[in-house]
């Protein structure tokens, strides 16, 4: 037990914590630790904690409960998730003309604080008392212009006796929050407008610290997929948004987060068996073969259709396919100048996203992955189970001309039995004649699939030559690339035994985009 300020013990703190939790339907959150206590220093994971400052403990039980309530509502309502926090950060950055990340973080914190406390205040009289306790404590201190404007706005918004403000910004803030705080779809626009209004005011104590989120609390903010955010922004804007949240958003994360919502469903080979289950009445409309005569006669001496006639319901179950070796994957990615670079909507974007997904999928299936990024130079990662190393190669954009590295492809292919070779290029290949023999040999050893972007502007001779190697897909729309890569991955990683319906030419595309969280 740790001795604490104001005669508080850890037990007392935890009692208040449990009271707060019970007021908010007992959310699954970690117990708080006191700043500077042994628990705080000794706990191995930095993030997974709610830390209470000892200064807060001096202010009484109700104040501590208010503090806990405030934190809990942050984690269960606003911003709750890292994705929401990211959307608010993105909006705050847009609202600030200077793009200052510290200021943007302050705006997000201020906005979420106001939303949380307005939400609490509206809930009950008890909550109102606690909320006002916190703000009145703050109002006793010397306030900066920004804090004054916020407190003045809250005085008007809530109709309470907090100090009014003569800043015109207070009135403008009031206009933002008078539309209500519960509608999440309004939050980004509200925070953007708030950032525009408060950008020039000197900050104070309000809005400092990191942006709360459940992922941040659980310590997995660095790996939480922010697919919606990544899809809506270019890499640089994405990096800036994440840096507002105190996270690194490099190019690899940008692609990884986007690829998270793309689903590859390998159609596994399954053995199906049928077995009898419950009893049901046999009627005239049922096939005679289904009538269970022996059983029906065991229940009644005569067979009266629909009355004393019974049949067995049949159920079927699928059995998982047996394990077998999966082919390793070699991704050969064109990163020449004609691919356009890492921006949304370019050939590089579509190709790299498809390559990321295919690599992650193959890796998940247990395959080893190798990658080559080429222009007239090349970056190569040999066979490995280290997905990060592969991703490092895939995000290279080398620029310049298109020289396919035939010898390197062959060197990688010969060391693995029948690997899958995914080659994504816009087929303006300038050294195909020199490298032809190597590529032909590699294609004979593995399964070569070429995705030729820019199908409308294709080089007929190159296409024809490459067509002899294996499957060649000419792609006119970049969306088609992703679907085709997924289809190829699905085919390659499902059971090696041919599926009957596949022989009939039925499509197995089962890719889909899930909604972002």
């Amino acid at each position: 037990m740790i001795a604490l300020a104001a005669d508080y013990s850890v037990k007392d703190i935890l009692e208040i914590w449990e009271t707060s939790r019970s007021s908010w339907h007992r959310p699954q959150l970690p117990r708080p630790v006191i700043s500077g206590s042994m628990d705080c220093d000794g706990f191995p994971f930095k993030n997974y904690r709610i830390v209470v400052d000892e200064k807060i403990l001096d202010k009484g039980d109700l104040y501590v409960e208010n503090f806990f309530d405030h934190l809990i509502v942050h984690y269960i309502f606003c911003p709750r998730s890292l994705e929401t926090a990211g959307r608010l950060a993105m909006a705050a950055l847009e609202g600030l003309a200077n793009g200052n990340k510290t200021q943007a973080r302050r705006m997000v914190n201020l906005f979420t604080d106001i939303v949380v406390d307005t939400f609490r205040l509206e809930r009950s009289v008890d909550d109102e008392e606690k909320v006002l306790l916190g703000w009145r404590e703050l109002a006793k201190e010397e306030l900066s212009p920004l804090d004054e404007a916020v407190v003045g706005c809250l005085a008007e918004l809530w109709g309470v006796d907090l100090p009014p403000s003569d800043h015109p910004e207070s009135e403008e803030l009031l206009n933002i929050f008078s539309w209500g705080v519960k509608d999440r779809s309004k939050w980004p626009r509200q925070v953007m407008q708030m950032a525009r209004i408060l950008a020039e005011l000197h900050p104070g104590v309000l809005g400092a610290g990191r942006v709360p989120s459940v992922e941040g609390l659980h310590g997995d903010a660095d790996s939480a997929p922010l697919s919606g955010l990544a899809s809506d922004q270019d890499p640089e804007a994405y990096r800036e948004t994440l840096s507002v949240l105190g996270l690194d958003g490099d190019l690899r994360r940008w692609y990884r987060d986007q690829s998270y919502t793309i689903v590859i469903r390998p159609t596994g080979e399954a053995t199906e068996s049928r077995f009898p289950s419950s009893l049901a009445k046999w009627r005239f409309s049922d096939p005679p073969s289904e009538l269970d005569v022996a059983y029906s006669l065991s229940l009644a001496p005569r067979l009266i259709p629909g009355v004393t006639t019974y049949k067995r319901e049949m159920e079927s179950c699928s059995m998982a396919a047996y394990g077998e070796r999966v082919p390793d994957l070699l991704v050969v990615l064109d990163s020449s100048g004609s691919m356009g670079g890492h921006r949304r909507g370019t050939k590089t974007h579509a190709a790299t996203l498809a390559a990321f997904k295919a690599s992650a999928f193959a890796h998940g299936e247990g395959a080893e992955v190798a990658a080559i990024s080429f222009s007239d130079r090349l970056v190569l990662q040999g066979w490995t189970r280290d997905l990060s190393a592969v991703e490092d190669v895939l995000v290279q954009h080398l620029g310049s001309r298109t020289h396919i590295p035939g010898r390197e492809v062959l060197d990688l292919v010969v060391s693995r039995p029948s690997p899958l070779i995914l080659c994504i290029t816009d087929t303006h290949i300038q050294n195909l004649y020199n490298e032809w023999d190597y590529i032909q040999e590699a294609a004979a050893l593995g399964r070569f699939v070429l995705f030729s972007i820019d199908g409308g502007n294709k080089n007929e001779q190159v296409e024809e030559a490459l067509g002899d190697l294996g499957a060649v897909y000419s792609i006119n729309s970049l969306d088609g690339l992703l679907s085709l890569v997924i289809e190829t991955a699905e085919e390659a990683y499902r059971s090696q035994k041919a599926h009957p319906s596949r022989l009939d030419g039925e499509s197995f595309i089962s890719s889909e985009r899930m909604g972002s969280g």
Partner: protein, 287 residues
Amino acid sequence: MSLSGFMGEAYAGKVRGEKRLEEKGGEFLLGFEDLAKRLEERPKRAEVEALAPRNGETILSLVHSASPKGRREGMIWGILTSLAAERLPSPLVIQPQDYAGLELHGGTIILDAKASPPWLNGRGSDGSGKVMGSWKRAHHLGERISGGRLVVRGGAGDYLGHEMRGGGIVAASCGDYAFRNMRGGWGVVRGDAGNYLAVGNSGGKVAVKGRAGARAGWLMRSGRIRVGRDAGEYLGLMMSGGEISLLGKAGARAGWRMRGGLIEAEGYGPEAGDDSVGGRLLCKGYP
């Protein structure tokens, strides 16, 4: 126990019976920037109209609070001024700014340097450094208007009344390309007009009390231009219809390659009517 009774018991004392805070209703709009953010790169009047508030006073407060940046926001602001003028019972008096009165259909807009937002009560500055009373020569005023009046109490910049189809514009003076591609309505310039006045017009009337610059009435097909003093060179260049009337003299090459229409002036510079295949050049005082 009914569900409401059960919920009431479970949340007894934890929730309010009545709403504590009032919330605004209607179309959710947080200001000019918020409106602009929701519009496309080339905003159309119908799109702005769909998102803008219905009430003229509310639009007016948006107009006053806005600091449009760039062409796109300028156009949105201009359409808002038109919507406000159409919905307000009295004329809209605002500071001159680019695109004011864009696509105006009715009502009256007065551009006055001394105009100030209502909340300033006639004070000299709006707190953002914008000083009231100093005249700014704004461009694209009254573009594509089809009705109503635009009064510019000062000099207008370029493209005044560009592509107007109806209504009327009055300005103290104007820059280049005023009343270009005009199809209807009227324009009055109480001082001098810049170059390229009423280029490509197919209707409407333009009156300039002072001088007109070079190439007035270039490619004119129909409509009328009246100039109180002299005009620059190439007056009525390649015009095929309409009337141009000068109380002063025309510069060199008036009516050059003219195919139709009429030019009337006190006198002409050298090479007047060269290469013309139609139309008439009249000299006042001579039959």
